[in-house]
């Protein structure tokens, strides 16, 4: 007997050999999301990701607040990477309102974004380490992360949710002696980062678990529209900072990290190597930054956006973040769409986990550099 079901609903057939597991949403290994995994013995037959447990409707909220009021709540999806998620919003609003940003503010924004990228990657690395049973790799990055948090606290006054980038520049100027302090800490961190290689990335147990598991080929990485470290670990040379440089990235000296293997190990290694590049960018930006000058173009109170739309994107710790902002001559945006790297990489999960052993699930899952709160928005 067939029953007409409403769209979006389906009947499930039950097989005695196949067992269904709900990984999450409470299990810390899954983050705030659920993976409906079907296993045959120890092998995963299918995986159906079920995000949405932390959906807060940021896009809807943005339609009710004006361009300045939107700043603090739009950074909530990724508070560990708050400068980067605000960056495309600021670029988009500046384009809509026709604002020029002072040169010094551009450099400060780049420094804030790169410091924040390191904070995010270290946080992610800590979680990745602990779920692979490597508790040293939980302690070290979680501790070293404080270096950058201190720097951003000196810049913005807040430890995690900075709301430092605003349309028109940055909220306030750098404190005195920031340059020396930043340079000293970044140089220390570069030395420190080399120790991670020996203790974690050359660890034979880690390599045995991650090398060759969850392979994503170059063609599939492009076809699935992945982004960020997942894409670059599969041999595609694409980084928004290089391909569509925003602010002053074209003046700065760095290179894109591309690995060819496409396995879990390569995906975990790309963000690590990118931290070295972030340090290079910070040092270079500190050198080239104008030593004085304005850091913020003042906006008119309650600025209106005209009848226009923009799509701006940047590279964050998890991939490209794009903002699509539609304005209709009102102080509030008509529609804000945030296209985030985590959401775009979600499509890999059913693809990569199929055929994997269940024990390897955390290695593949966290290697995707996935942040559930960002994906849900």
């Amino acid at each position: 007997m067939t029953t007409q079901l409403p769209p979006g609903m389906h009947l499930e057939t039950v097989d005695d050999k196949i067992m269904t597991l709900n990984v999450g949403p409470q299990h810390p290994g899954s983050g705030h999301m659920r993976l409906i995994i079907k296993v045959d013995g120890d092998y995963i037959v299918s995986c159906d990701p079920d995000p949405g447990y932390v959906h807060r409707g940021e896009e809807k909220m943005a339609e009710y607040r004006n361009y300045i009021q939107n700043i603090p709540h739009l950074e909530r999806p990724v508070i560990h990477d708050s400068s980067n998620i605000l960056y495309p919003y600021c670029l988009g609003v500046e384009e809509l309102l026709g604002i020029e940003v002072p040169e010094r503010a551009k450099y400060i924004r780049v420094i804030a974004a790169e410091l924040n990228r390191c904070i995010y990657i270290l946080y992610w690395l800590a979680i990745y380490g602990i779920f692979l049973g490597h508790s040293t790799m939980f302690m070290w990055p979680a501790g070293d992360r404080e270096l950058f948090i201190d720097l951003l606290e000196a810049m913005s006054g807040a430890r995690v949710t900075h709301a430092y980038l605003v349309p028109g520049g940055v909220r306030n100027d750098l404190p005195s002696n920031f340059e020396e302090r930043c340079l000293r800490q970044v140089e220390y961190f570069e030395k420190r980062l080399k120790e991670y290689e020996a203790v974690f990335y050359q660890n034979p147990l880690l390599r045995a678990r991650t090398e060759g598991s969850g392979i994503l080929s170059r063609t599939d990485a492009i076809r699935l529209g992945t982004t960020g470290s997942v894409l670059r670990a599969s041999g595609v040379d694409f980084d928004v900072r290089k391909k569509e440089p925003y602010d002053v990235y074209e003046n700065l000296d760095f290179q894109t990290i591309v690995l060819k293997e496409g396995d879990s190990y390569a995906r975990s290694r790309v963000p690590y190597l990118e931290m070295f590049e972030s340090c290079r960018i910070i040092k270079d930006a500190l050198k080239k930054m104008p030593k004085s000058g304005s850091v913020r173009t003042k906006l008119k109170p309650n600025p209106k956006g005209g009848n226009d739309e923009v799509y701006r994107r940047i590279e964050s710790g998890r991939g490209a973040i794009g903002y699509y902002i539609v304005s209709n001559n009102r102080p509030e945006p008509y529609r804000v769409k945030i296209s985030v790297g985590s959401f775009r990489n979600l499509i890999c999960m059913p693809y990569l986990l199929k055929g994997e052993k269940l024990g390897n699930m955390p290695a593949v899952y966290w290697g995707l550099n996935y942040w559930p709160v960002e994906a849900d928005r």
């Binding site: 769209p7 979006g8 809807k60 909220m61 492009i222 209106k304 739309e309």
Partner: protein, 218 residues
């Protein structure tokens, strides 16, 4: 001006009321309104300076290619530096998308957004397409838009708010289209897995990103 309008202006000084009063042409003539706001010290000049920008040649050549192929079926909305936007009817969108993939070498979707226009009873679906393989297209985003009819009392999946899915053309739209389905009630025909993604299973209200779904307290 009527006394009621004046009273409103005096009492409420929020932006909401402020901009409503600007558009109220029936109670106040344009000259009167201008004088009224000048006395109050309010600036009525447009916020965005209008600067005509030159049309970039590379983007223009891409837009010309697609408009010469499809003619009346496609309307190029704008050509700017690194951004092209075109609108097409929903019947033609699969053909246009195939042309964009095969001839213009865009290979993935960055985002799929819906925009609700209750005044014209339409919902716009916009695909932002990018390219990883073509070196020249690294900076480019192609926005392909289409409009679907909107019903005041939505019944997602069963009403006329539907459009062909681009999942067979761009595989990467799979989860984006599912999100658009639950948030706007646009059903994508031919999508293999048109289920809800972010909303709870027992969501019984209208699709929440439509304009008639209001946030409490706002």
């Amino acid at each position: 001006m009527s006394s009621g309008t004046e009273k409103d202006v005096e009492v409420k000084d929020t932006t909401e009321e402020h901009s409503e009063n600007i558009t109220k042409s029936d109670s106040m003539s344009k000259g009167e309104a201008k004088k009224f706001y000048e006395e109050k010290g309010l600036d009525l000049s447009p916020d965005v300076p209008v600067k005509p920008k030159p049309i970039p040649t590379f983007e223009k050549s891409l837009a010309d290619k697609i408009s010469s192929k499809f003619g009346d079926k496609i309307h190029v909305d704008y050509v700017r530096a690194d951004r092209i936007r075109a609108t097409t009817k929903r019947e033609d969108i699969v053909d246009v998308a195939k042309f964009i993939r095969d001839e213009l070498k865009y290979d993935h979707a960055e985002s799929v957004s819906g925009v609700d226009y209750p005044d014209s009873s339409e919902i716009e679906v916009i695909y932002h397409l990018g390219s990883y393989t073509d070196e020249k297209l690294g900076r480019q985003i192609f926005a392909l838009a289409t409009r679907v009819p909107r019903e005041d009392i939505p019944n997602p999946g069963s009403d006329a708010t539907r459009t062909p899915s681009l999942r067979d053309v761009f595989y990467s739209v799979e989860f984006h289209e599912r999100e658009c389905f639950e948030m706007f009630g646009v059903y994508f025909e031919g999508h293999p897995d048109m289920r809800r993604l972010l909303l709870p299973e027992d969501w019984a209200d209208i699709p929440p990103f439509r304009k008639d779904f209001k946030i409490k307290g706002r």
